[in-house]
Structures are given as structure tokens and as C-alpha cells.
Symmetry: none
Subunit: 96 residues, 4 copies
Amino acid sequence: MPDVSGIAGDKLRSLIERIEKLEAEKKQLGDDIKDIYSEAKRNHFDVPIMKKIVRERRMNKDDLEEQQNLLELYRKAIGMWEDTPLGEYAFADAAE
Amino acid sequence: MPDVSGIAGDKLRSLIERIEKLEAEKKQLGDDIKDIYSEAKRNHFDVPIMKKIVRERRMNKDDLEEQQNLLELYRKAIGMWEDTPLGEYAFADAAE
Amino acid sequence: MPDVSGIAGDKLRSLIERIEKLEAEKKQLGDDIKDIYSEAKRNHFDVPIMKKIVRERRMNKDDLEEQQNLLELYRKAIGMWEDTPLGEYAFADAAE
Amino acid sequence: MPDVSGIAGDKLRSLIERIEKLEAEKKQLGDDIKDIYSEAKRNHFDVPIMKKIVRERRMNKDDLEEQQNLLELYRKAIGMWEDTPLGEYAFADAAE
DNA sequence: CACTGGAAAATGCCGC
DNA sequence: GCGGCATTTTCCAGTG
């Protein structure tokens, strides 16, 4: 759109193009990450579990514990699984 | 949560049970839909295409509302841009 | 589209309409569920935690345990958190 | 996972570290994009509308490929329907 | 600072 | 059983 726009139109178009360029790179990185998960799968790793691990590592440890405590509190409040050993597994669930 | 083992626990359990009931119904509907696709397949219709059609129709329907929102936004913005060609620019891009 | 179609066209349209009807009901249930979560929020419950609870209850307990074990195994394999209290707790839990 | 604490653990750690590196870069790009929107705002552009435009352009781009897939599907199905009015029906619906 | 809407991620499902 | 697609769920930034 060569001459419909004035200065501001050029600026706007420039901004949008810069954004689109960055978004394209961002998408590329997403694809690269997928590739690594594929490689992991080929090496017989469990991909969903790996994703949980990555997420745990990204999370702040204090928040993780706080979540755990709340989860446990809620389980208790509704009397969930009170006669099973599953309560012990609470910690792992917080990360999911 | 105010009171773990008292009234709040009852309320929490009640909420969760209501949710689970609705989720069960929702799942049932999903199964019913699958059944219809099976029936379609038995009648020699091409199921993937049927799904595309259903999807298209849903998208088109959703888009009507979306278009309204978009127009709304544009009208709002035109006040700012009314003495520049930018309004036109935005419209042209959105419609292209 | 009254007379473009023959018998098969009628059948196809009928199938699609039944599907769309069920999908509408399904969507409605989804909205109802959202409403309950809103009510929960108004009652000062932590909605994300509630969702975890609902999910836990939906899951098969054996699968849950299996997941836990794998997660723990992976944490160990990469030496994750081995010098933190959370890590010790998890290790203890896994070993018992 | 073959060998928890041996070579497989090294492989797992390596995969995870590569993923985390890419995620960091990805996050950086997200921040860069935000910066551009900030710049736009400083230049008195309407950011929500810009986002709409970017989104529209991305959708339109995606739709081109989608349309191709759809046509592909339709061509495939036409063999089955070529002596009925159903092909027309599908086309009409998709185009409406 | 809670809420809404939009982007991103995860889950589940389907055909090959 | 694997990869791709669609849906659902989760997350997060902007807004009042």
C-alpha cells in the first residue's frame, strides 16, 4: 500500500512487520522444542513426564510447596481417599 | 478455605459433586456424538469431511460475533485516526 | 436447500443437525460447569486446586501411582533438587 | 528409561537442558514482542487493534493452507459422491 | 487486585 | 503405536 499512508501508516506497518518477524522466530523455536521431545521419545523417554519435570524446574519451589499444602488441605476437607495410601503421593501431584 | 473439616468441607464436596455430575453428562453427550458419526460411517458418509463441515459451520457462526466485536473496536479507534489514512489501512488489512 | 438433495442428502443433513444439537447441549454443560467454578470462587475456594482435585478423582488410582513413580525416577536420574528439603521429602516418600 | 543413574540419566539431563535453553530464547522473543507493543503505545497506536490485525493476518495465512487441505479432502470424497448431489451440498456449506 | 479475554500448552482422539 | 489434529485446559497480560 505505497501511497495511501502517511508517516504514521509507515510506522504502523513497520511495527507490525517487526512483530510478525519475531513471532515467526518464536514459532520456529516452538518447533525446535517439539523436535527435541520427538528425539526423547525415540530414546524411549516418557514425554509427558518430561514435560512435568521441565515445568517443576521452572516453578518456584516455595510456590510448589504452597500448592501442595492447599491440595492436601482440600483432599482432607472432602475426605478424599482417606482409607488409601494415595495421600502420600500428594507432592508429586502438585507439579502436574 | 475457612474451616477444613466443618461446613466449608461440606460446601466444597457439594460443589465438586455437582461438577462431576455435569461432567458425566457432558461425557455422555460426547459419546452420543461419536455414535452418530459411527452411524454416518455405516451409511457410507465420509466422516472426516462431515467433521470439517460441522467445524466450518461452527466457525462461521462464531465469526459473526467476532466480526461485530472487531467492527466495534474499529469504530472506537476511528475517532483517533479519522484525519489520517490509518483507519482505511486497518480496514483493508482486516478484510484482505 | 430444499430440492438439490436426494435421500442421501436428507440423511446427511439430518445427521449433521443431530450432531449440532448435541454439541450445543455439550457446550451448555460446559458453561454450567464454569458457573459452578464461579460460585466456588465467590465462596473463596481456590479454583485451580479444585480442578486438580476433580482431575485426581477422575483418574484411575493405579495410573496415578505409576505416574508418580516415573516422575520420581526421572527426578533422581537428573539429580534434581537433591540438596533441598523438598527433594529429601520426595525421596523419602518414594523409597518407603 | 534403561538406566536410571547412568548414561540414560545423562541423556535425559541433556535433553532437558536443551529444551530449557530454547524455552529461554522463546521467552525472550515474547518479551521483545511486548516491547514493540509498548513502543506502539508510546506512538499512540491502539494496541488491542494492532493485536487484532496481527491475529487476522496470521489466521488468513493459516487459512490458505487449511483451504488446501479442505479441497484435497473434497476431491478425495468426490469419487464417492460424484453421481449424487452431495458433493454440491458439501461445497455449498463450506463456502457459505 | 480481581476479572476478562487471548495466547500457549497439554490432553485426548483419530487415522495410518 | 506413532504422529498429527482438534479440543480442552492453563497461563498471563491488560483493564477496570
